[in-house]
């Protein structure tokens, strides 16, 4: 297996994940639910890609497909250029060494019956040939790397605070020496005042070790760092993708615009005077997706074509992508040219 060091750490091409809906006595498949409905995504080495979306967007399923924790129904997954979609055995274990995951709830992601040193030992024992003493040393090294005292490794998960345990989760992810870490809402369950600890730790580790990150989150505000690429997902598809600064300051897709608008700003004067876009209705369920563009039922700029045809992807001049008829067909609303309507800052 020869890997290309310049190829993206992980690449998903037209990833589809279907879940059959069974009903009846014999469990006959009645319909298919598309959790992920055709996604192209890649994480270049040493960069951060954020996947943002609400519930039902498919972001969590996509992450698990890319890591082969869930088998995709269709599509190709490549790690450093090597096709690993159907890898098994040795190949798969090697892939697992290179791509690790940090989960949302630190307390749930550690075996409550084992002291954390056992949890840290698991990846080391599997992926390295270190002796027991060497492993103990490495564990101590990892703890220090994440800013914790090594003497606490004998403790149990419940004896740590959420922030500390999440750091240990990062240490565990670093143990096998990966190149990519997938983070599934890593700070959502932590207090706001300590989220920075984890986020800054991750940034430091990235610059020291050249790690790539795939960040799954619903919190757009957290991802507003330069160099980060952001992909916005809605109902199993990426509706907009681009550099964080662009997606924030000049969103191209009406959903992104609404999402940004919905985040309340911690500044009373500005917050209360902001022009707000409040979407009507609830996020549609993947069980019953609307025809045409999946967002048309809630889109403030909906046109006739949106109800019937699914928009094709438009590649924008700055390298970003957007999937919206407004960028294909043009705005038929109010006469104002497109970029003005959707490029205005929402802050």
């Amino acid at each position: 297996m020869s890997s290309d060091p310049r190829a993206p750490l992980i690449e998903g091409e037209q990833i589809v994940k279907r879940f059959p809906v069974k009903s009846g006595v014999l469990g006959r498949t009645r319909a298919q639910v598309y959790a992920v409905a055709g996604v192209d995504i890649e994480v270049p080495p040493g960069t951060t890609v954020a996947v943002v979306g609400e519930s039902g967007s498919g972001k969590t399923t996509l992450a698990r497909c890319l890591l082969r924790l869930v088998e995709p129904s269709e599509g190709v997954i490549r790690a450093e250029g090597v096709d690993i979609t159907h890898s098994k055995g040795e190949e798969l274990t090697e892939f697992r060494r290179l791509a690790q995951m940090v989960f949302q709830d630190p307390y749930a992601s550690f075996d409550p019956l084992l002291p954390v040193k056992a949890s840290l030992n698991e990846p080391l024992a599997l992926h390295t040939n270190l002796s027991r003493t060497e492993r103990t040393d490495r564990i101590a090294e990892l703890m220090t790397m994440v800013g914790l005292r090594p003497s606490t490794v004998d403790r149990y998960p419940r004896q740590f605070s959420g922030g500390q345990l999440q750091r240990i989760a990062v240490a565990r992810a670093l143990a096998p020496g990966p190149k990519l870490i997938v983070l599934d809402e890593p700070v959502s369950s932590l207090d706001v005042s300590i989220r920075a600890d984890i986020v800054n730790l991750l940034a430091d580790l990235q610059s020291e070790m050249g790690l790539g990150y795939l960040f799954i989150t619903h919190d757009l505000a957290l991802m507003r760092h330069s160099g980060t690429r952001v992909a916005v997902m809605y109902l199993g598809r990426i509706v907009e993708e681009g550099l964080a600064a662009t997606v924030y300051d000049a969103p191209r897709h009406p959903y992104t615009q609404a999402l940004l608008s919905a985040i309340p700003e911690a500044h009373p004067e500005r917050q209360r005077q902001r022009a707000r876009i409040v979407l009507a209705g609830d996020p549609p369920s993947p069980f019953d997706p609307p025809g045409g563009c999946p967002f048309h039922t809630r889109c403030p700029y909906v046109m006739d074509i949106c109800r019937t045809e699914h928009p094709a992807e438009t590649v924008l001049p700055d390298g970003g992508r957007v999937t919206c008829h407004l960028h294909q067909v043009g705005l038929e609303l109010g006469g104002a040219p497109l970029p003005e309507k959707l490029g205005a800052s929402t802050h």
Binding site: L67, D105, Q159, Q164, R195, A262, R276, L279, D282, P283
Partner: protein, 720 residues
């Protein structure tokens, strides 16, 4: 110090150095009620639970005696088990024969002891064989699922459909009485063991599979998979240990039923062959003479009944003690009310803490009888009277909370979760209650509604609502206020909606609970309320069940229920935290509209300062059980006076600004600093802060309240 305020903030609230971060952990475990809770602590906890159950101890003692006697039978038994004495048959207890003799003059006690050996041997081997087969199959089926699981389930279904004892008899007969492994088993015992093992295995498989299913769904199993650990290692290392506690319970119950089954088989004659002693065969012999020598029957009968009973009691005791050790509680994660749920779990057997909360939650929205009697009432009365005397007269406040203190009785002592909280809500005002984990904000509002189960909680202070002291009301009086005058909306709408009834039904019930109007009128009002909360197509939605609605819809339905009775005050405990951000925006718009149109005062509990900036007129910031600052919203954000508030504002991500955090963590209720509670984390702290507890003081206008020794000197950064 010549550094600018920005630099100070950057230094002060930057990421802490490793030593600093972990120094705190030296004294006490950072989370959970008891420090140092690890495997040793868990075992001690279990033993403690068992020690206080006398029936469990008795049962264990009995079983120990039985097992001991069986193991050391040759030493303990007074006679040889086959020693006949025809001259001395059917004796009742004498000095020579403590339990008398049987039809062939054999000593009953001896035969009882050797019979115990047989029965226990059967139990041991049956359970062992069944486990050896069931554990690999059950865990594999539960973890991998798919076709293997389906096949195994159908197989066990087949076994379940056959009456077990009938199957055992057939098997035993087919196998025959010929001695199998005569060194180990007396004739007839092996066939019982095989037959009963075949019966017991499917049961174990199903139970193990069920337990494995739930453990396998836990993120830590997925984490192991993502590391690359193979299935056998996952089963061995993670699944089996985590189902072990339920397995132990199942084993003790199985022991009882196997013993009964063995006795039954031997009684019928397909078990242990005569003259070998077994309790079942003793029963059979005794049955032949029951009309003439009834005493003979009592011996094996009592022995079997007592032993089986003790097995079941042991199983039940273990279930109670270990039942507190579900994966969730082992995690030690604070529950919805933070520390509270963890504390309550340790006090009350089973999991009534959650049940209480569900009942309370339901009740808060609809009204009705609270689940627990309030023994805190008498105490509260005293302190409330005291407080009323001391408190300044503020006639314009709709709700006036003063000196609210909430304590819990735990095995480790009294834990004070809320310490002297004072709040005021004026008519038409929205008060935001902001805090992070461990602040006590949820406990505060729950105790305003008097929804905390009163043992183990003790609430003191004064809560004056609409001129009445809530803490001095009887249960009945409080239930009239709850849901009618004060309504509450929770974070998880499913916890307050009954899944078995349509929301229309529940709305109508809520309306009719407090107003005497006919059903048709109530229905019309219900539709009106759903319209008010902007639920589309309300007529049709009335017929929907809670699980058919999305999270946002459910929350609207809950708000509708809260409005059903023209509440004078709405308490919302993190109602949008669990919702998507676009749905949250809708709910916030709704609340703003309602607040405007109905002039409805609100207490809005949240950790999200953005929501506060959007919705609230006044803000109270809580830290470690106390209010540290309270002010009108604009002023709090523009010029905070407490370092914690400043830190909170600084930790909100802002484009272009480095993401900051507050170093350290919230102190545990049983481990509070002697002086200012925020001092260990405060960048401006000095000796004066450590000296004494800090009081909450207000400025002349009574608009701003601050709990800080240095509030006059500090000039803090507001929101940017």
């Amino acid at each position: 110090m010549t550094s600018t305020f920005d630099e100070q903030v950057g230094q002060a609230f930057g990421v802490a150095a490793p030593e600093e971060l972990t120094l705190d952990q030296e004294q006490s475990g950072p989370h959970g009620v008891r420090p140092g809770v690890g495997k040793g602590g868990r075992l001690r906890g279990i033993l403690r639970e068992l020690r206080v159950r006398p029936t469990f101890l008795l049962a264990t003692a009995f079983i120990v005696i039985v097992v001991g006697a069986a193991l050391f039978a040759p030493l303990v038994a007074p006679y040889d088990s086959n020693a006949q004495d025809i001259t001395n048959t059917f004796q009742t207890p004498t000095a020579a024969h403590w339990l008398g003799t049987d039809d062939l003059g054999r000593d009953n006690l001896t035969r009882l002891i050797y019979g115990a050996r047989t029965s226990l041997e059967a139990v041991f081997f049956v359970v062992l064989l069944a486990l050896i087969v069931a554990i690999p199959i059950g865990t594999l089926a539960g973890h991998k699922k798919g076709r293997f699981d389906l096949f195994i389930m159908r197989l066990t279904d087949v076994f379940s459909s056959i009456p077990p004892l009938v199957l055992a008899i057939v098997l035993a007969t087919v196998i025959g009485v010929n001695a199998i492994l005569p060194q180990l088993f007396i004739p007839g015992l092996a066939r019982i063991i095989i037959a009963l093992a075949i019966i017991q295995t499917p049961t174990f498989i199903r139970l193990i599979r069920a337990q494995t299913l739930s453990v396998s769904a836990e993120p830590f199993v997925e984490a192991s998979r993502s590391i690359g650990v193979k299935t056998p290692a996952i089963i061995r290392r993670h699944l089996i240990p985590n189902i072990s506690s339920s397995l132990v319970v199942q084993i003790s119950v199985a022991a009882g039923s196997v013993m009964l089954a063995e006795a039954a088989l031997s009684y019928i004659g397909v078990g242990v062959a005569a003259p070998n002693p077994s309790w079942g065969s003793m029963l059979q012999v005794a049955n032949q003479f029951i009309l003439v020598h009834a005493w003979l029957m009592c011996i094996p009968g009592t022995a079997i009944a007592l032993t089986v009973l003790c097995f079941f009691v042991i199983g039940e005791g273990l279930q109670d003690a270990l039942g507190l050790q579900t994966v969730e509680s082992r995690r030690g994660k604070p529950g919805r009310l933070g520390l509270t749920t963890a504390i309550m779990e340790h006090r009350v057997p089973g999991d009534p803490a959650t049940a209480e909360l569900v009942a309370s939650a339901r009740e808060a929205t609809v009204g009705g009888q609270p689940p627990h009697s309030g023994n805190g009432e008498a105490m509260a009365l005293e302190t409330a009277a005291e407080w009323r005397e001391a408190a300044p007269d503020l006639p314009d406040a709709l709700l006036h909370v003063q000196g609210l203190r909430v304590e819990f009785d735990t095995p480790d002592g009294v834990v004070r979760v809320v310490d002297g909280v004072s709040l005021k809500v004026r008519p038409g005002e929205v008060l935001g209650l902001v805090g992070e984990s461990g602040s006590g904000k949820s406990v505060t509002v729950t105790s305003i509604m008097r929804l905390l189960p009163s043992p183990p909680a003790r609430v003191s202070g004064s809560i004056i609502f609409d001129g009445r002291e809530l803490l001095s009301l009887t249960r009945k009086q409080m239930s009239e206020i709850r849901g009618k005058d004060i309504a509450m909306v929770f974070q998880d709408p499913m916890s307050a909606l009954n899944p078995a009834f349509t929301i229309g039904n529940q709305l109508i019930e809520a309306i009719r609970l407090h107003q005497r109007i006919p059903k048709a009128a109530a229905r019309r009002r219900a539709v009106e309320l759903l319209e008010m909360t902007a639920i589309p197509d309300p007529g049709r939605r009335m017929k929907a069940y809670p699980h058919e609605l999305s999270g946002g819809m459910r929350q609207r339905a809950l708000i509708a229920m809260a409005l059903a009775c023209d509440a004078k005050l709405l308490i919302a405990d993190e109602p949008t935290t669990a919702l998507d951000v676009t749905v949250q925006a809708q709910i916030l718009e709704l609340l703003k509209t309602l607040q405007r149109d109905l002039n409805l005062p609100m207490i809005f509990v949240t950790h999200d300062l953005g929501v506060v900036a959007d919705l609230c007129d006044r803000v109270a910031v809580m830290y470690a059980g106390q209010i540290v600052e309270a002010a009108p919203t604009h002023e709090l954000f523009a010029s905070p006076q407490h370092p914690y508030t400043e830190g909170l504002l600084a930790s909100i991500p802002r484009p272009g600004w480095k993401l900051l955090s507050i170093a350290g963590q919230v102190p545990l209720p049983n481990d509070m600093p002697a002086g200012c509670r925020f001092e260990p984390r405060c960048p401006y702290a000095d000796e004066a802060c450590r000296a004494d507890q800090v009081a909450l003081v207000s400025d002349e206008s009574l608009q701003r309240w601050i709990r800080c020794v240095h509030s006059d000197e500090l000039s803090l950064e507001g929101a940017k």
